[in-house]
Symmetry: C2
Subunit: 355 residues, 2 copies
């Protein structure tokens, strides 16, 4: 026997359905049903049981419930880097909707490491009912392995056979390019993020298309690490190969780059216009305030969880082999937030650049 009548590890000494059953003069199974299967028990009986349970301070043990049913009421969110503000609002959105639905969030930070990510999955997979992979760095096939085990939604990554929620990067990028073109810029430089990032590819691709349509030139520098440090490197690269406008893979790079440019004596937006991506925390109080393509972060998290919940509600679906039912894939709109880091292309700059 696991734990004799001796001291509990928990102070509560919580009553079980057996205690409640005895007190209410019914069988344990009836108590169980009174809670989990309303209607299966006579209304009066159920009411009496609930009454007694309440008085005894009974709370159903989630572990015990989870063991036979698999319903842990836990969802895992795997984020590439908790300290990246990109995830803050996503987490908030996910947490909100999960909590509202009676689920609890288990957050694993994998610090941009594929190895840590695999470990986190190993550890959490058996405990949770669903998975949100927020910008996973793993390969598609690794993700598929996980998705075979339980409902999975990927964020900001497109996979034909797995539910995903992404920002409409193309449209956002197009807006940014149009904005810069409208200010008279004729060449735009893209400061690339990690090659492993799906969004990076999409953004660059969209930029090429948008610039092509408008008859202006696109250039690419990088890849840079998606951090402020990466932005500093980007600033040096941009100083070596100047242009009047730059679009960064994300806000962190943009912000770091603006600092770097300032240190190099290059003014934003007078000499270079800078556009970021994501509209993260801080984009509105950096100097100058950053013009950026705003991703609907909160919604991103919320929608991901909502899709998960829906999938969990559907019947048992055998071994989750065939993705029957329409595979949910959401594309949320991004829009441009115009702030202070972009301005008209001035000929003076071209001069300055070459000095």
């Amino acid at each position: 026997m696991a734990e004799p009548s001796s001291g509990r590890k928990r102070g509560g000494d919580r009553p079980t359905i057996y205690d409640v059953a005895t007190a209410a003069g019914v069988a344990p199974s009836t108590v169980s049903r009174a809670f989990s299967r309303p209607g299966r028990v006579n209304a009066e009986t159920a009411e009496r049981i609930r009454q007694v349970a309440m008085e005894m301070g009974y709370r159903t043990n989630p572990l015990a419930r989870a063991l036979p049913t698999g319903r842990t009421s836990l969802l895992a969110v795997i984020v590439a880097d908790v300290t990246n503000p990109f995830f803050f609002e996503i987490l908030r959105g996910a947490e909100e909707t999960a909590t509202a639905a009676g689920y609890t969030l288990l957050v694993a930070d994998v610090q941009e490491s594929v190895e840590a990510e695999r470990q986190a999955l190993d550890r959490t997979l058996p405990m949770v009912e669903g998975l949100v992979l927020a910008t996973s760095r793993m390969s598609d096939s690794s993700i598929r392995v996980a998705a075979k085990q339980l409902p999975t939604v990927v964020l900001n990554r497109s996979m034909s056979d797995i539910a995903s929620v992404a920002t409409d990067n193309s449209r956002g990028m197009k807006r940014a390019v149009e904005h810069l073109a409208g200010l008279g810029h004729t060449t735009i430089t893209y400061l690339a993020g990690p090659d492993a990032s799906w969004a990076n590819g999409v953004r660059w691709q969209a930029m090429r298309e948008a610039t092509h349509e408008l008859g202006i030139r696109a250039r690419r520098l990088g890849p840079f690490s998606p951090t402020q440090a990466g932005g500093l490197a980007a600033a040096r690269a941009l100083a070596d190969a100047p242009s009047t406008a730059a679009i960064a893979y994300n806000d962190l790079i943009a912000i770091g780059m603006m600092r770097g440019l300032m240190n190099l004596g290059i003014r934003v937006p007078d000499d270079v216009s800078v556009v970021g991506f994501d509209n993260i925390f801080g984009a509105d109080f950096c100097t100058p305030q950053l013009t950026t393509v705003a991703a609907p972060l909160r919604q991103l998290g919320a929608v991901a969880v909502r899709i998960l919940l829906e999938e969990l509600r559907t019947p048992a679906r055998g071994a989750r082999q065939a993705p029957q039912g329409p595979l949910k894939t959401a594309l949320l709109p991004a829009n441009l937030v115009e702030r202070m880091s972009t301005g008209p292309a001035s000929p003076v700059i071209a001069h300055q650049e070459t000095e």
Copy 2:
């Protein structure tokens, strides 16, 4: 019966200790011991079992293990607001040490709401082994109730009977006041945070002491909400009752206030010197870069988890009544990061203030 031989909900169809036992020709209990109680089983037998288990792809089911033992390998961190950058590094620190020790973090965001916090506790308490309350807004007695159930560490709050990890606010505040006094400021205004915040009281108290020691004046405005919006309000309040130096309850207020002051045509640091608290993400790229009392955030989270782990390692300790053993309480040093938001008090300002 819960689930007949019919289709599993999980694709894996994971083998159990019973399968392994059959395959290895031993009893299930021996398999169990081979994993959880090394030494209790003959080395050769154990090795053979492990071999077989490995081949079958056996993984022990954490739920099943948790039910009789209570060991869920889960720790809960309750944060007042996940979108507050103050928590980012704390979470990272907590996550790191928890993961290293084989624990997984369960993060609950309670959005500054006492009600949500109570709910989060209700939900997570039965599933986790330990609790980190990051700047809980609950009353001391509510916290004690939780702490009676399982090992608890509170962050940035001092409670005589509960383990806590805090920043040495007094010392940090003292440094900030000395810094400002050294620049010639003779009156310092404190922009208060929430009254419910323990740190708020400590900081104000420490500021009064420090100013008293140095023979300068302390003033207090507020309370303000610990957000950028609160900072905007603080800016208005400060404009109405000017002084040459201000220390904010936290960086968010400081940053919001600097923006507000700028809008009101008041220059930082020329007209007003501003000092924040916490050195959050963004404090180095706001305008002007914020001078702030740096809290060792990452360590804060790490130490909290470490204390928890240690407490979990100690014997069973009956019903956790008496806090036997030295109650761990850590005070981590804070230091002042001098950046651009503070400068010498200029007499000109006094003039401007009264115009």
